[in-house]
């Protein structure tokens, strides 16, 4: 539908006629049989550049111990996964998921000419650009822009936060950020706000003003839909009481209540560990693992794990050698975690990082992160990845 028509219809709907666009009547639009086909992607962002080598520990490689005398995790503390790699003890909670076949680790994910600035590198991961290219849209945003049947509503991609990340912004469509569905619902149902969108008829053809009204109408409609749909579901799984777990709990509630959302985005920050890394990173990894454990088991209990794929990334890993302050500095390639009930390649996906073959003290990447995105777009979100990533990327075999 052309935007102009869309807006006209929206205006009619508000005036109470029968011409009602689908998004204004979510319940009617929601055929139950569609629900079972719903595949959810949950993106977990670890901000600050998580040190992958102290997350998945290459305890079988002596170089690791030589280069990290102050911060290496001792072999007997490592939760061993094979002869070479194991988990940081603070990730104890992930072992259970790993053993169930619900977890995959991809080693050495990166991109050519890596950038070591948090900001720029996060930009690259969120937009899926080349290192020397500047994009103003994110990869999930461009997925929303693609002609996918279910992508037309803002709630197709929800970020559990107060503001929307670049990853979620497309050229013509954007996801929606909300930390608390009830609060957004209250805000969009304030009399003044209702008054503004209900009286909306005159300006809808004008470009930017029309866009503002369209955004208001969609926000209000999404807020209603999300609130009404998720209100019915009563969560019964107990999560740890951390901000990160609360985000995941909200996502689980949305997934279990059958929201027609395809992508969820959450983040955990504080990983920039230049000084005294062990405690800081350990604490954060524990929050991460406890949250993921609850989330995955909750979804499993509700028969939603089969429909869910979780990916975890950070903007870069740290340098292989520790620094003088028992911390690590900004590096390059890093591991990514995947969780879900339909992983084809469970456990460790590829070989451990080669610590003997470094690029100026940094890991060389084996997998381009856009191959991971490409795989998800092709095989999970059912859209040709070249349409979103601007060129075709190979797909991998993890799903």
């Amino acid at each position: 539908m052309e935007r102009r028509d869309f807006l006209k219809n929206a205006a009619f709907a508000a005036a109470g006629t029968l011409v009602v666009p689908a998004f204004m009547k979510p319940f009617e639009a929601l055929a139950l049989d569609e629900l079972s086909l719903y595949k959810n992607l949950v993106v977990v962002q670890l901000s600050g550049g998580n040190d992958g080598l102290n997350t998945v520990i290459p305890f079988g490689n002596d170089i690791y111990y030589q280069m990290r005398k102050g911060i290496a995790i001792k072999p007997d503390e490592v939760i061993k996964l094979n002869d070479m790699q194991g988990l940081n003890p603070n990730l104890n909670c992930l072992k259970e998921l790993y053993d169930q076949g619900w977890m995959t680790i991809i080693n050495d994910v990166g991109y050519p000419n890596p950038d070591r600035s948090h900001f720029r590198s996060m930009d690259i991961w969120q937009t899926a650009s080349d290192a020397n290219q500047y994009l103003s849209t994110g990869w999930i945003g461009r997925y929303l822009d693609s002609n996918c049947e279910t992508c037309k509503f803002p709630y197709t991609a929800i970020e559990v936060d107060d503001s929307l990340s670049l990853a979620m912004k497309g050229m013509s469509k954007k996801g929606i950020a909300l930390k608390d569905p009830a609060a957004l619902f209250r805000n969009t149902n304030e009399p003044f706000f209702r008054d503004m969108i209900n009286r909306d008829k005159d300006h809808l053809d004008e470009d930017n003003l029309g866009y503002l009204y369209k955004t208001m109408i969609e926000t209000s409609s999404s807020a209603n839909y999300i609130q009404n749909t998720s209100r019915i579901y009563q969560p019964n799984y107990t999560y740890p009481n951390t901000a990160f777990s609360n985000q995941l709990k909200t996502v689980s509630r949305f997934i279990c209540s059958g929201l027609k959302t395809r992508v969820y985005y959450v983040s955990l920050s504080g990983f920039d560990t230049h000084v005294n890394q062990l405690n800081q990173q350990g604490r954060l990894l524990q929050q991460y693992a406890e949250g993921m454990n609850a989330f995955v088991k909750d979804l499993h209990q509700n028969n939603k794990l089969e429909d869910t794929l979780v990916i975890t990334f950070s903007e870069f890993g740290r340098r292989v050698a520790q620094n003088a302050s028992n911390g690590t500095d900004h590096g390059t390639a890093n591991n990514m975690f995947l969780f879900g009930g339909r992983l084809k390649k469970q456990g460790i996906y590829n070989g451990a990082p080669d610590l003997g073959n470094l690029d100026n003290g940094d890991l060389k990447y084996q997998v381009d992160f856009r191959e991971v995105y490409g795989t998800i777009l092709d095989k999970w979100l059912d859209v040709n990845n070249s349409q979103v990533l601007n060129k075709r990327f190979n797909t991998l075999g993890f799903i």
Partner: protein, 475 residues
């Protein structure tokens, strides 16, 4: 042009060339020719004083301590503390710099100068965690905002902030770093498609040795400079950086690129290529005189046409400054202005990357729009902002040390005070609600708006209602 048109046009001019206009000034200026108003905007009083939150002495003092510490192998706890204190002091100064600029925009008597500085801030986008360098670059952009583009470009290219940000400090004979050279052509002057990869390589060699010293001054490092011949745009010579800049400016494509960007910023998101061509012709002929260019832009008839009025989405900073200026708002905890910038997507001195803020519709998504609609009633009624800012990636190290997940509080009191009596005193006693709405909004006041404000008795309520409307997001 009749009186009513003049009223509308002056208001439009001041919205675009500045940050709005007070009612009495508008009445006054409407009586005269629009060219007078343009001339007034272009005439900068007090030559726009520089922003100074950190003095050169203070900076040199810090540098001295830091270079002493950097020379040592092992630092004592006291020395570590010293270094941490400097980092802390610098972060504090960076925030102060941000606030002193936004306050300047709110109170300035040279609105066009600050608006142009904002334009150049986005054009020559740069991040520096050194507040002295950031301040230097900002003042270069202000001092040359309405001057000559070549001088501006040269000074920006020689500023420590930019040399550092685009790695020219590492650009040395035999080991060229092309980052600066690439962005110079792609984003600062010619635009994509008007140069080759080889031009980038050769220009990078010409900029070798452009560096800065410990005192934060530009220094040409002769030993690092590649003196051999380079071939740039088909010409061969022993070019240095300035010679490259001259050759770039000799290309009319540069004038077109800058004019298109100015057009998008000041006139319309969708450029009319004929108008851009017309402007670029002037700009090139006038040897890149920015003031002359802005004069032709604001004097063009099309600048006041219906397609170009009331249709631009204010950037977050324009929105905040506009509102604060209009209602004479003072912030007793100005820090909130940083939180608002960051939540709305335009945190000054922190552009997303060297390409700057993309602008236009990208300012708006559901959460930023909801926040914008709420801000006027919060600021004007001193409300509570219930909003969590995202952690800035550059703050990550601080967050890691603080053992807190997010640095910002969940609930923030706005602590703002609007000067209502000053605002209301501007208007005639018999001012009608719709007249006030028409003054505050750029899009025409239609039935919807007049219905919403119809039940208001006081102008104050109307002002709050009107500034909370989507129409107020436009200028």
């Amino acid at each position: 042009m009749d009186r009513k048109d003049n009223f509308t046009n002056i208001k439009h001019l001041y919205n675009r060339a500045g940050f709005g206009i007070a009612y009495p000034d508008l009445l006054q200026l409407s009586k005269r020719k629009i060219s007078k108003a343009i001339k007034g905007l272009l005439t900068v009083s007090n030559q726009g004083t520089e922003l100074t939150v950190i003095t050169p002495d203070e900076f040199k003092q810090q540098q001295l301590i830091l270079s002493g510490l950097n020379g040592k192998k092992e630092l004592s706890p006291d020395e570590k503390q010293q270094r941490e204190d400097i980092t802390k002091a610098r972060n504090e100064k960076s925030r102060e710099l941000n606030l002193s600029w936004i306050q300047r925009m709110i109170t300035t008597e040279n609105p066009l100068l600050e608006k142009m500085t904002l334009f150049w801030h986005g054009h020559f986008a740069c991040r520096s965690n050194n507040p002295f360098y950031a301040q230097q670059l900002n003042n270069i952009q202000r001092n040359n905002a309405l001057g000559n583009f070549k001088t501006l470009l040269l000074e920006v290219s020689r500023s420590p902030a930019m040399l550092d940000y685009l790695n020219n400090q590492q650009n040395r004979k035999g080991h060229p770093n092309e980052n600066f050279s690439r962005e110079l052509m792609e984003l600062f002057t010619l635009g994509r498609g008007n140069y080759t990869e080889n031009d980038i390589k050769e220009a990078a060699r010409s900029f070798t040795g452009w560096a800065y010293n410990k005192s934060g001054d530009f220094e040409f490092n002769q030993r690092a400079h590649d003196e051999k011949e380079k071939t740039f745009f088909g010409q061969t010579g022993t070019f240095d950086g300035e010679a490259i800049i001259d050759r770039i400016l000799a290309r009319p494509e540069t004038a077109t690129f800058i004019c298109r960007k100015l057009y998008i910023f000041f006139v319309n998101d969708t450029p009319d290529e004929n108008h851009v061509k017309e402007l670029a012709g002037h700009f090139y002929e006038q040897k890149y005189d920015i003031s002359a260019l802005m004069n032709s832009l604001f004097s063009a008839e099309w600048f006041y046409s219906k397609t170009n009025t009331g249709n631009k989405i204010k950037s977050p900073v324009e929105f905040l400054v506009n509102l604060s200026r209009e209602f004479y708002v003072t912030y007793s905890k100005p820090q909130i202005l940083i939180q608002l910038q960051s939540s709305l997507g335009q945190y000054l001195f922190n552009p997303p990357n060297v390409a700057g803020w993309p602008g236009g519709k990208t300012w708006i998504d559901s959460s930023s729009l909801m926040l914008r609609l709420k801000i006027p009633s919060l600021v004007l009624n001193d409300g509570i902002l219930d909003f969590d800012g995202k952690a800035d990636p550059e703050d990550e190290a601080v967050i890691a040390l603080n053992k807190k997940q997010k640095p910002r509080p969940v609930r923030s009191y706005i602590n703002a005070k609007a000067d209502w009596s000053k605002f209301l005193a501007c208007f005639p006693k018999d001012m009608k609600q719709t007249e006030l709405a028409a003054f505050l909004l750029e899009p025409p006041v239609d039935k919807k708006i007049s219905d919403v404000i119809a039940s208001n008795i006081k102008l104050k309520n109307t002002a709050i209602a009107v500034t909370s409307m989507p129409e107020y997001q436009l200028c």
